[in-house]
């Protein structure tokens, strides 16, 4: 469903992405792991065009209907079309501080997609229920815990029915006791067959939720494989070392 080809990105002379190729199939949950600074966030940001890659392509779909995007020079119409396929969940939630939980979820539907408010409110309420926040719809982000904020952010992305969800370390800004509720929410989505690409530091979560694992280091994909293979029998020495340090 989503294929990233030859993604390169430098900041100055810091080569952050050094020829990344990634593929995610429909219904798959793929976890991206790797040491800090290996370029995981940058990869997600280039895929969603929040950051302009130096070069690279993104192919969406298969066969004749496939859409091909140049991640270095997409027009703003293309960027808009590209992002319509994706939901993005940020490490730092990035909820709209001037909107309630419900308002946050409705924003994309009402302002972005020009849906009428009543319909948008119905969808949004259903999404907030799904992430277990029906009691908190009228609360502003500042009145919610970090875990609740992140679940609102997940609902906000889901409400637009993206083809793929991108998660950038969705729990690393949270206190340990709040990570579980967010991970359980994402795990539930994975079990439902939501297509997702999840950058995570939580190895036990990756093991539980992902079909496949991608291990990145220094801007390269070092190894990828089925979850069981990566955790039980990694081929690369560097993968083995990383897993030893992070389990």
């Amino acid at each position: 469903m989503l294929t990233v080809e030859n993604l390169y990105k430098s900041f100055g002379d810091n080569k952050v992405l050094d020829g990344i190729n990634v593929h995610v199939d429909k219904g798959e949950a793929v976890a991206v792991i790797g040491p800090s600074g290996s370029g995981k966030t940058t990869m997600l940001r280039c895929i969603s065009y929040l950051e302009k890659a130096d070069s690279g392509h993104l192919i969406f779909g298969k066969g004749d209907g496939a859409e091909n995007y140049d991640l270095h020079k997409a027009s703003s119409a293309e960027v808009k079309k590209l992002r319509r396929h994706m939901g993005f969940v940020f490490q730092s939630f990035n909820l709209f501080a001037n909107k309630t939980a419900l308002g946050n979820v409705m924003e994309g539907l009402v302002t972005g997609r020009h849906m009428n408010k009543a319909e948008a409110a119905d969808i949004s309420q259903a999404m907030l229920e799904k992430v277990g926040l029906s009691e908190r719809m009228g609360f502003y982000p500042g009145e919610l815990s970090g875990g609740q904020q992140q679940r609102v952010a997940i609902a906000r992305a889901l409400a637009l029915e993206p083809d793929i969800m991108l998660f950038d370390e969705p729990t690393s800004a949270l206190d340990p006791e709040l990570t579980r509720e967010v991970l359980d929410t994402i795990l539930g989505l994975a079990k439902e067959g939501t297509t997702m690409l999840v950058v995570t530091h939580e190895m036990s979560f990756a093991k539980e939720a992902a079909n496949r694992i991608i291990f990145m280091e220094e801007g390269k994909v070092i190894e990828e494989g089925l979850t069981s293979q990566i955790f039980e029998d990694p081929r690369e020495e560097r993968t083995r070392e990383f897993l030893k340090l992070n389990s």
Binding site: F96, A97, N98, T100, E107, G108, T111, R136, Y140
Partner: protein, 238 residues
């Protein structure tokens, strides 16, 4: 205090207050509106990085903040006629005060906009908003709330600065006090009286600020739903 002086103070009070209400206050409000609109535009061309316009905004702010208000006022009222541009005293004052304060309000707006985490704009993009939509639905409402106290501060300064309009023949609060002082030879009493009236006006403005800040609550899409989720915050405001 002599009976004569008390009589002068009493009879002059309304003579100063009325031009205050009729001239000083409209002058303040109109100039402030000009400064808000222009200030916001100047801030926007800076944050949106529109090339060319951005430099113009920079130069504008540099000039209007770097030269005295009274000099700007004189250029507009006494200087422009020699270029064939005649402006009456009152509109000249509105223009001078508005253009001047716009430079300050632009900085207030710009730093308030800068204070909104860029992640919110990125999140807005990812839910399908365009840049202008992100600006008007997410960034500016928050920036306005941050800017509000500083804008109000500038409004109170402006109220006092409008007394400079007396130097270009606008008959406002201070001009009236000057005229009566000249007639009665009681400058100390009359100028203190003028000060008192300014103080009353600015105190009222401070109260207004406190009241409005309390009212400044976000407006979400879900004004109606607010009751079902058990919150009671009033949803008026921006």
């Amino acid at each position: 205090m002599s009976e004569r002086l008390v009589g002068i103070l009493l009879s002059s009070f309304t003579k100063i207050l009325i031009p205050g209400i009729r001239v000083t206050i409209p002058l303040t409000i109109l100039s402030f509106l000009v400064s808000l609109v222009l200030g916001l535009l100047l801030a926007l061309v800076q944050v949106t990085k529109i090339r060319g316009l951005r430099q113009i905004a920079f130069i504008y702010i540099w000039i209007f903040r770097g030269t005295p208000l009274i000099v700007q006022l004189f250029i507009i009222f006494f200087g422009l006629p020699s270029l064939g541009i005649m402006i009456d005293a009152f509109p000249a004052a509105v223009l001078a005060f508005g253009l001047n304060l716009a430079a300050y309000n632009a900085e207030v707006f710009r730093s308030a906009i800068d204070a909104i985490p860029v992640g919110q704009t990125e999140a807005a993009y990812m839910v399908g908003l365009s840049y202008p939509q992100a600006l008007f639905h997410i960034v500016l409402p928050q920036a306005f709330k941050i800017a509000f106290p500083s804008l109000f501060n500038n409004l109170i300064s402006l109220l006092k600065d409008t007394s400079l309009a007396s130097s270009i023949t606008v008959v406002e609060l201070f001009t009236s006090a000057q005229q009566i002082a000249a007639r009665t030879y009681e400058p100390f009493a009359l100028y203190c009286e003028a000060a008192l009236i300014y103080l009353i006006f600015s105190t009222l403005l401070t109260w207004l600020q406190t009241y409005l800040e309390g009212k400044l609550v976000w407006k979400s899409h879900d004004d109606k739903e607010i009751n079902i989720s058990g919150r009671t915050k009033s949803m008026v405001g921006i």
